[in-house]
Symmetry: C2
Subunit: 220 residues, 2 copies
Amino acid sequence: MELRVLEGVFDANRKIAEENRELFRKHGILAVNLMASPGAGKTSLIDRTLALLRGRVRMGVIEGDIASSVDAERVKAHGVPVVQINTGGACHLDAAMIRQALDHLPLDELELLIVENVGNLVCPAEFDLGESLKVTILSVAEGHDKPLKYPLIFTQTDALVLNKMDLLGMGDFDLGALRNTVLKMNPDVTIFELSCRTGQGLEEWAGWLERMVRGREGHS
Amino acid sequence: MELRVLEGVFDANRKIAEENRELFRKHGILAVNLMASPGAGKTSLIDRTLALLRGRVRMGVIEGDIASSVDAERVKAHGVPVVQINTGGACHLDAAMIRQALDHLPLDELELLIVENVGNLVCPAEFDLGESLKVTILSVAEGHDKPLKYPLIFTQTDALVLNKMDLLGMGDFDLGALRNTVLKMNPDVTIFELSCRTGQGLEEWAGWLERMVRGREGHS
């Protein structure tokens, strides 16, 4: 009986996710669902990406958090449209929350919408938001065994951003082992190695994201 | 209607948690619910604690993960009783999972049971396992703003372990701000600053844990 309830939740979510996807398509928006553990660097990556792609891509942001608006404040400083969702306890965003947030964004003006999910490697992977791309960040400080423990998110993600590369060598993070594990689970994943702190590798990431925006426009 | 289902889940969990709590009391076991983000250092802290308290406290471990048994293997090397729970997707442990695991542990021989929850700062805080103490780890690499974003776990926790103190100064972690935020939410919390990597601060943590085990025996 419990399972039936859960299926109901997932079915309902999927339906709204498809509506979101159609809305993104109609407006020519590339929507990125950005997922990671707490503290892996989601807001920092958004911060850096907004700075790098300023003038190149028209961007908007949805910030998802259990509570607080510290992330939205940080994004607002870039002068881009941003909506903060406070889930009030829920450990992930769902499609209905995104649907609501979209009412407060100038969709016609956007080419790229970055959605920062709640910090969590588990539940966000189970809820389709209608996004065009899933991007997962793993911080080098978290350890290379994470894909073994949280397989779903690493299997589904379109891109994996290894952040805090400046900390490589400070712990026992094994980059080769990480790449092997992830590529075995998800052979098509694009992996970026960067550091939001030092700036290393950021231009490659931003360039890829810009190409995804342009490629999408070319196709529609 | 959805809310009613959730309340049902929490009620059912609470009932089993009370049974677990009674079982721990009967056997004189201090049960610790160890929670943190993925990669904050839960298994490393258990690893270090087992080594430090060996011969001083009779310990057992329950390892909770979505998938894999890498953590249990690591614990087994210490020669202590360990049970691995694979939640198969669930993002937190619940009381019923613990109840099942207890059937496979020699409860009469244990004084301290450490339960490593699934790496997640959200849902584990919502499910009482029947534990005697909640301990939360925050890694310095995660940033000092985490209590603002995940308030429940930091409000409830009996002890907060700041791990990876050797990385302090490598990022912008503000120790004073962290302490202020947490103590405002949770004035009774005991805070430890340590590094599982360098060993810094570990004896204080282990000594405190041992005193909690003995104090409990004194009271019962």
